[in-house]
C-alpha cells in the first residue's frame, strides 16, 4: 500500500484518517491460533458478491431475456464469445459459493453469539441479506430458460401459491401472470440484474458501516470454573 501520509493526493484530500479508520482497527486478542479464520467468511461472501456483479454485468451484454432467445443467447455465450464459458462458469460457481458462504457466515455469528448487544442491527441487516441472496439465486436460476430452470421455477412459485389465502395472489405477482411465460422471464431478469443487486449493495454498505463502527466481537471465552459469574459449563468433564 502506498504511504498515504505523504504525497500529492494526500496533501489535497487528507485521506489518512479514513484509511486508518478502515484498516487500523482494533482486533480481539483471541483471534490468534486459527480462530481468526472464522472471521474471514464475511469477506469471502463479499468477494463472491463482487465477482457476481462483474461477471453478471458481462453476461448481460450477450443475454436476451425472451423465451425464444434466452437459450440461444446462452449457447452463443458458451460457444462463440471469447471466454464466455469462463465468465458464465465463474458466475454460476460464485453464486453457489455465495449461498454457502453467507450461510456459514450467519452460522458463525450465531454460534459465537456475535449477534448480541450491541450488534443486533448488524444481525437484522444480515438476515435481510441472507434472504436477498436466496432471492437472487432463485431468480437467476430461471434465466437459462432450459427444462431445469423452467420446472424449478414452476415448483418454486407453486410453493408461494401454497400459502393460505394470499398464496394465489403472491404466485401471480411473482410470475407476472397465471402461468410461467414471457413476462415471468423479463420480471425475473429485472429483479435478478437490477433490483436485488442494488438492494444487496446498499445493505452491504450499511452492514459494513456498522461492523467498522462497532468493531468485531471477540470469540466467546470459557469462563474459569468456580467463579461467581460462571454459568453451568457444558464441558465440565474437560
Amino acid at each position: 500500500m502506498p504511504n498515504t501520509k505523504e504525497g500529492w493526493i494526500e496533501e489535497r484530500l487528507e485521506l489518512e484518517p479514513i484509511r486508518a479508520a478502515l484498516a487500523d482497527r482494533k482486533m480481539p486478542r483471541d483471534l490468534s491460533g486459527g480462530m481468526g479464520w472464522f472471521y474471514t467468511l464475511g469477506s469471502a461472501t463479499l468477494t463472491a458478491f463482487i465477482m457476481l456483479v462483474v461477471t453478471g454485468i458481462m453476461l448481460a451484454m450477450n443475454y436476451s431475456p425472451s423465451p425464444d432467445r434466452a437459450y440461444d443467447s446462452i449457447q452463443f455465450i458458451m460457444n462463440d464469445v471469447s471466454y464466455g464459458w469462463l465468465i458464465r462458469g465463474i458466475h454460476s460457481w460464485a453464486a453457489t459459493a455465495m449461498a454457502i458462504l453467507v450461510f456459514l457466515h450467519a452460522l458463525r455469528v450465531f454460534v459465537f453469539g456475535a449477534y448480541k448487544y450491541p450488534r443486533e442491527l448488524t444481525w437484522i441487516v444480515g438476515v435481510m441479506l441472507l434472504l436477498l441472496v436466496m432471492g437472487s439465486a432463485f431468480t437467476g436460476y430461471l434465466l437459462p430458460w432450459d427444462q431445469g430452470a423452467y420446472w424449478a421455477t414452476v415448483v418454486g412459485t407453486e410453493i408461494a401459491a401454497g400459502v393460505p389465502l394470499a398464496g394465489d395472489f403472491m404466485a401471480k405477482a411473482i410470475r407476472g401472470g397465471d402461468s410461467l411465460g414471457v413476462v415471468t422471464l423479463t420480471r425475473f431478469y429485472s429483479l435478478h440484474a437490477a433490483v436485488i443487486p442494488l438492494i444487496i449493495a446498499s445493505l452491504i454498505g450499511i452492514h459494513l458501516f456498522m461492523v467498522v463502527r462497532q468493531g468485531i466481537s471477540a470469540p466467546p471465552r470459557r469462563l474459569k470454573q468456580g467463579t461467581a459469574n460462571s454459568p453451568p459449563s457444558a464441558r465440565e468433564g474437560e
Binding site: 500500500m1 487500523d24 462483474v54 458481462m58 451484454m61 450477450n62 436476451s64 432467445r69 440461444d72 443467447s73 449457447q75 452463443f76 462463440d80 464469445v81 471469447s82 471466454y83 464466455g84 469462463l86 465468465i87
Partner: protein
Amino acid sequence: MKEHGEATDRHQHNRQVSRRQFLRNSIFAAGGTIAAGLLYPAVRYFLYPAIRSQETPPFTPLVPLATITIGQPIFLTYEERTKDGWAVVTKSKGAWVVYRGGDDVTVFNPSCTHLGCGYSWSTEKALFLCPCHAGVFDISGKVLSGPPPRPLDRIEHRIDNGTLFVGQTVSSA
C-alpha cells in the same frame, strides 16, 4: 507493537526487507496476479466482436442447373439465412440467373444499378428492362441505354454437384 514494527522498518530499510513488508508485498503480488488472470479473459470477452475472425457468409442452394433453360434468363427467389449473434436472420432475396450450358452461369442482383428498382427480362426484345427510368441492359448486364451508371451487379455463385449456390452481391463498379 505497531510503533515497534515501524521503527524496525525504518532501521532496516536499506539493508533488508522486513517481515511485514515482505508479507505485504506477497499479498499484493498474489492479488495482482489473480486480478490480471481475470482481467485478460474479461477484456477478450468484451472485445470479441472486434477481434473475432470474420465468418464467411453462407452460400444458399438455389436449384439444380439442369432445371434452367439454356440462354433464357430466369428470376429465382430464395431465403438466405445468416447468423446475427445468437439469432438466425432469414432474408427473402431474388436473383436473375443466366445459364449458357456447362458451368457457364451468371447471377445478377435483381435491383437496377440506377435507383434499385426491380427490372425484368423482355423475351421479345431479349433485353433486361427497368420500368422506373427506362434503363436497358443486355444479357451480359451491360448498360445499353438509360440512366444506370454501371452494369448490373453480380451475385457470387458456385456449382456443387450440379446444384447452383448463391452468395453475396459483388458490385460491378
